[in-house]
């Protein structure tokens, strides 16, 4: 099919030209999509924060506090304020104890530590079992729900471990991981509360 001889010079030249064109066009598309990608990510973050701590008027993404938990996990704290007053904190927390690795969730806490809402951001749990965590712990059925509970006062572990939360049927490990992420988030929040207030004063 090729009419050009496979000499070293020809091969080098062809591959060089092809990779140069490919590289240039990719750079162009990257520039083109750079902003929409960043905007889509920011929108997703904003939507997640809005769901877990509704009613804020500031932009929590601007005042984010990035800290490390006692376990060495990176945790992000987004203070949500209404008219300059702290109404809650969206905590982007995670655990590495999931069934399929890391579980990343966003939990909204009131200033006193009560859970407002949560959203699951990233996980590799079993589809149909562990993935139910996205809605399970919000459903008001038996002792499933963690909304309105306070990790400082309530024992938020699965009932099998002596806690007061019903685990997802057939997904105890995923349930433990979820509650562990909540615990990590809460503890990190409590440890850094002072810093959060400071940041608010600026």
């Amino acid at each position: 099919m090729a009419t050009i001889e496979s000499s070293l010079k020809n091969m080098l030249l062809t591959l060089f030209v092809i990779t140069a064109i490919a590289g240039t066009s990719l750079g162009f598309v990257y520039k083109l999509t750079e902003k929409p990608i960043a905007a889509a990510k920011a929108r997703k973050l904003q939507a997640a924060i809005k769901e877990v701590v509704p009613g804020f008027t500031n932009n929590p993404g601007d005042n984010v506090l990035e800290v490390t938990s006692d376990e060495g996990l990176p945790i992000k704290l987004y203070p949500a304020k209404k008219d300059g007053k702290l109404i809650g904190v969206a905590v982007e927390t995670m655990t590495n104890k999931g069934f399929g690795g890391n579980v990343k969730i966003m939990v909204g806490f009131k200033p006193d530590g009560t859970i407002i809402n949560y959203q699951v951001l990233e996980h590799q749990e079993t589809p149909g079992l562990g993935t139910k965590m996205a809605t399970w712990f919000k459903t008001d059925k038996g002792n499933q729900s963690v909304l309105g509970k306070n990790p400082g006062k309530n024992n938020l572990t699965v009932s099998k471990d002596g806690g007061e939360v019903d685990a997802i049927t057939a997904a105890t490990i995923s349930s433990r991981a979820f509650l562990d992420a909540v615990r990590v988030g809460y503890e990190t929040l409590k440890k850094n509360e002072a810093k959060l207030e400071e940041g608010g004063a600026k």
């Binding site: 099919m1 090729a2 009419t3 050009i4 001889e5 496979s6 000499s7 020809n10 091969m11 062809t14 591959l15 092809i18 990779t19 490919a22 066009s25 990719l26 598309v29 990257y30 999509t33 929409p36 990608i37 889509a40 990510k41 997703k44 079993t126 589809p127 149909g128 079992l129």
Partner: protein, 194 residues
Amino acid sequence: MNQWKNFTKGFFKENAVFVLLLGMCPTLGVTSSAINGLGMGLATTFVLVMSNLVISLIKNLVPEKVRIPAFIVVIATFVTVVQMLMQAYTPALYNSLGLFIPLIVVNCIVLGRAEAFASKNSVGSSIVDGLGMGLGFAMALTMLGSVRELLGSGKLFNYTIYPEDYGMLVFILAPGAFIALGYMIAVIDKMKKA
């Protein structure tokens, strides 16, 4: 060559999934729901059409001995373009397809069509071939995704058909993909012979 025949061969006679059994990795991996199958199929279609187009254009300029690396660079470029576009404009779909988007590069169908068709045929025929093969692949993935979603979680394109509690979980998991695909191949085979 008859262009209509060229176009339709990707759907039945030479369907990549049901007949050629190519590209099994994304087929089994992403089809846990109909929308995932459709998204993956359309992304692959775009890559197929664009890479067939470019490869049929440059086929006489590439020395024989480096044609495979040259084709792979062309394919990889379009896959990266698709990946960035999806990340920018359909972030939800991008998240659920995840790793499988970059894997289109090594999808045998794409390189297979480049090598077996685009490098030997005219630009027009190559585009039609890419479109037919790609849409045939998308159709197969959507069908498989629909069957798995319906049996596994009681939904179709995210609309609930019956309560999820009655769904057979196995169809969402990997073994279900094999079972569903096996039965679908059997049915298509029977239809072809009849």
